[in-house]
Symmetry: C2
Subunit: 128 residues, 2 copies
């Protein structure tokens, strides 16, 4: 399988697939002409990576997840720990965004949004 076919199957851009090879996440074979040659297992790994990334795991986390996936002797506790840590970070980010959202919503509601220069949003940003 060549790269564009793999891209179609996994939904990942070819650029991303090349990048994943560059950083050692996959190691496709090479054809005599220099083209990458993907095995089914490579495609499988790429799909795994795509789903891990879609859940917001960092590349380094994905690397660890992939290693655990390939290790038949893994302990599910290790996977769970990784996922829980990531979940905690997501929780934190959501909290932060919600705080911004709340503040902004208030300010936007207070703002007349007309031609006059007076604006509670700017006033808040400039306060003190």
């Amino acid at each position: 399988m060549n790269i564009s076919e793999v891209a179609r199957e996994t939904g990942l851009p070819a650029k991303t697939i090349r990048y994943y090879e560059e950083i050692g996440l996959i190691k496709p074979l090479r054809d005599t002409n220099g083209y990458r040659l993907f095995r089914v297992s490579d495609v499988h790994k790429l799909a795994f990576l795509g789903r891990s990334r879609a859940l917001g795991f960092s590349i380094e986390d994905c690397r660890r997840l992939l290693a655990l996936y390939e290790d038949q002797c893994r302990a599910s506790a290790d996977v769970k720990a990784l996922a829980e840590e990531h979940l905690a970070q997501i929780d934190g980010k959501i909290a932060q965004l919600r705080s911004m959202q709340a503040t902004l919503r208030e300010l936007v509601e207070e703002c007349a949004g007309d031609r006059r220069p007076d604006c509670p949003i700017l006033r808040d940003l400039a306060k003190e």
Copy 2:
């Protein structure tokens, strides 16, 4: 005022202040020895930037907000539009994070987290 004093007052790292000058957000004076010399208005702008950034506005948005702030003839509608657009992006990000959070929470709950290799998290990431 020199940079470390401004850093203390605004809560921004000196590096960040230099960076903001580099990209043209502020234009402090220079002392004869080459040191930056900050006016009260510079400090004020930096505080404004700090609060805008804390609300999640991008640097370019901050630049626009600052321009609106300085423009006595601005229309509050312009500020409101900017804020609403940003708010919409925050809403989108929260939605995305919540979807990740929901999926991850489910998977984490299903996972035994013991020494056995069987793991629903990995199974989900590898599915199909």
